[in-house]
């Protein structure tokens, strides 16, 4: 019995309903489905102790405080962080990127290195830093097949005072994972900090922040079976201490007068206002669920599906897969376009024909598409609960569409 067959019953969304076939959910790079364990954890908060964490003294508040603390600890261990205070809960990866972009002490002429296929969330914040602080945003070109070009990176590193290397760890466009450890080593050698957008990495492969020696790393809960609107920013504690607060207000200070305040240490100084406690608890439940499945099983399932899908797609006339031809380099993402056929039309027809959910468009990587004159693509992103039967149906449907259009 493969892993998908074992766990599918945990996902209520995968059940047939309203007389329709069960959804074939291939939009996992946007957000994944949630297992009952996560849903029940969220429900538990609202039913049993819907109170504030850290502020009130009553038993319900103490329960929340304990749960949030445990969640932080679980996430810290999950990433192998040095201490749980290095974990900041955010709403999503984008907020994590913005936090770093807004709180680093920028100087005019600081160079920020990004790749040429960054998600808008890891591009626009740096464009704004360049505009506001006179920093320089430098784009590192990838190879022809969209894999990381270490030589080009090395040249870019040596070309100027690089303050920060901000890279998507795994691309949401094509699923390619960059050689992060080597990049970090070289960046540190040049005195640069490294931020990794790991939104598409943490759900699919083990990430060890200490082994990587990464300075900052952000990811989202909703792409890894967790609740919507949850995310994590990891930062080395000594670096977090040096950062200015991002959003300020309640829960970020130990005390205040009419004209001053005393900020709490990280992570509190970055977690302003009342937090999404149910979401944080749900995120911890998602982490626990992922750990119970194990990354080996996840990677094996995704690889098997991607190989099958890639092989099938290559046989369809006019289909072009974005990224390297070897599916093992593309994780669980297969981004493709069919010459002469609108990508949105394909996505809509798949939905209508077989209840297959895929993403179509430019996937928030407009810069890559615009630079190459590609209008858009269809992105099928699989996850651990997807099956070979679903992949077959996807290909069959696509073949029919190709014949008709």
């Amino acid at each position: 019995m493969d892993i998908a067959a074992k766990i599918r019953a945990d996902f209520p969304t995968l059940e047939a309903r309203d007389g329709r076939k069960p959804v074939i959910y291939f939009d996992n790079a946007c957000q994944t489905l949630r297992p009952r364990q996560v849903i029940e954890t969220i429900q538990r908060y609202y039913q049993e102790f819907p109170a504030c964490s850290g502020r009130s003294m009553h038993r319900m508040a103490a329960e929340v405080t304990r749960e949030v603390d445990q969640a932080r600890e679980r996430v810290a261990k999950f990433l192998n962080a040095g201490r749980k205070e290095e974990i900041i809960f955010t709403r999503n990866t984008t907020e994590g990127v913005n936090l770093i972009a807004s709180t680093l002490n920028w100087k005019t002429g600081d160079v920020i290195l990004v790749s040429d296929k960054e998600h808008n969330s890891n591009l626009i914040p740096w464009q704004m830093v360049a505009k506001r602080h006179g920093a320089i945003l430098r784009i590192v070109r990838t190879c022809e097949d969209n894999t990381f070009d270490m030589e080009a990176f090395e040249q870019a590193l040596k070309a100027g005072p690089v303050r920060l290397v901000a890279m998507g760890y795994t691309s949401n466009l094509d699923g390619v994972t960059i050689p992060a450890a080597e990049i970090i080593k070289r960046a540190h050698r040049q005195g640069a900090l490294v931020f990794l957008d790991a939104a598409q990495t943490v759900p699919h492969q083990r990430v060890n922040v200490r082994a990587l020696d990464v300075d900052f790393l952000a990811f989202s809960g909703h792409k890894m079976l967790g609740p919507s609107g949850t995310g994590v920013l990891y930062g080395k504690y000594r670096l977090l201490e040096q950062l200015e607060p991002f959003l300020v207000g309640g829960d970020t200070v130990s005390t205040s007068t009419y004209d001053s305040c005393q900020f709490l240490p990280p992570p509190e100084k970055f977690e302003a206002g009342l937090q999404d406690y149910a979401g944080i608890m749900g995120l911890a439940a998602a982490v626990q669920y992922l750990q119970s499945i194990g990354y080996e099983a996840i990677e094996k399932q995704e690889r098997m599906l991607n190989e099958f899908l890639s092989e099938g797609l290559e046989e369809i006339p006019g289909v072009r897969i974005i990224g390297p031809s070897d599916p093992r380099l593309r994780g669980g993402i297969i981004s493709f376009y069919v010459e002469g056929i609108d990508h949105h039309r394909i996505a809509l027809m798949l939905d209508q024909m077989a209840n297959i959910a895929v993403r179509s468009g430019q996937h928030c990587v407009h810069s890559w598409f615009n630079a190459r004159g590609v209008i858009g693509s269809v992105r099928a992103s699989v996850y651990v609960y997807n099956t070979l039967e679903e992949a077959k149906l996807f290909l069959d449907s696509l073949i029919k569409i190709r014949k008709v259009l």
Partner: protein, 314 residues
């Protein structure tokens, strides 16, 4: 072109469904852009085309291929069909409102608003009641018909004229008569009553009516009302008719005597011959301002014929 059809269809579906309402809004945006010669940038038509193709392809690949290839021409065809069907639908509603039938005045055929065809049924001349055969509407006329000897209820000065041909034994006449009476009264119209027995047993009543009117034109209308309202199974009973005559204030014996007179029979025959000159083919037939209405119509139809579409303002 597709946007226009989609807008109309989705607007109707949107009455019942919020998701269709949203699509209707998108379609409207697309329509507005098209009519102002701007490109439809929302991708609405593409989206809908994909959805339709996605639906069709699961049933027939060949059908989907055909639809994909000829989507635009098919859109035009459906557009013209839509315009045509809309025209006929609006026309049908208008005709039903003004004539009581979706198909036009005195026309049979299915009408969704009158599915049983009640407004076009009539009792055929010389046949059993009811009969729903159709005569020649175009031949109906009052030209050359001498209405002088028939019961007449005067209206206002310069009053419009209503001529009612009916039979006491015909259910449809019985249904229409009270409305005609009410109409004539309300608008002060002149009412002429032409009795025509579509059932043999009521021949006798033609003579009774003639004699009663001759005896007292005023009381005649009371008797007429009673005859139309009475239990029709008892109209054959002379004793019952005598009771009605008495109730209307007539000398029943005198009327009965007159009805059996040879002279009366001759006059009535002349009158029935005169009625037949109208070329009517069933009762009730109502002539209002030279328009003939066959079968019991809703009150508004008679009112429109008499006073026009804005009758309710008068």
């Amino acid at each position: 072109m597709f946007c226009i059809i989609a807008f109309i269809v989705l607007s109707i579906l949107g009455i019942f469904s919020a998701s269709n309402r949203q699509l209707a809004r998108e379609a409207l945006d697309c329509v507005l852009r098209r009519v102002t010669l701007r490109p439809c940038t929302t991708g609405f038509d593409e989206k809908m085309k994909a959805k339709i193709l996605g639906y069709v392809i699961t049933r027939s690949e060949a059908g989907a291929r055909f639809l994909n290839r000829y989507f635009e021409p098919l859109s035009w065809i459906f557009f013209f069909l839509l315009v045509g069907s809309t025209f006929f639908a609006v026309r049908g509603v208008y005709l039903y409102y003004t004539t009581g039938s979706c198909n036009g005045l005195n026309q049979g055929g299915f009408c969704v608003f009158d599915p049983t065809g009640q407004n076009t049924q009539f009792s055929g001349v010389d046949e059993s009641c009811p009969v729903s055969s159709e005569g020649n509407v175009l031949n109906l006329t009052l030209e050359g018909v001498d209405l002088g000897g028939f019961p007449k209820l005067a209206g206002n000065p310069n009053a419009k004229s209503i001529v009612f041909i009916g039979s006491y034994g015909c259910d449809y006449s019985r249904k229409a008569y009270p409305m005609i009476r009410r109409l004539a009264q309300k608008y002060g119209a002149e009412l002429v009553f032409l009795y025509y027995p579509v059932k043999e047993h009521s021949d006798y009543l033609a003579k009774v009516g003639y004699c009663a009117y001759k005896q007292d034109p005023q009381k005649f209308w009371d008797l007429n009302d009673r005859l139309f309202a009475a239990d029709k199974t008892r109209l054959e009973d002379e004793a019952f008719v005598q009771e009605l005559l008495k109730a209307s204030g007539f000398n029943a014996q005198s009327v009965q005597f007159c009805a059996k007179d040879f002279q009366t029979e001759w006059v009535v025959k002349q009158q029935l011959a005169e009625v037949r000159k109208t070329n009517f083919y069933g009762t009730p037939t109502v002539f209002i301002r030279n328009e003939a209405l066959v079968g019991p119509k809703p009150y508004r139809v008679y009112a429109i014929a008499l006073e026009g579409l804005l009758y309710w303002l008068k």
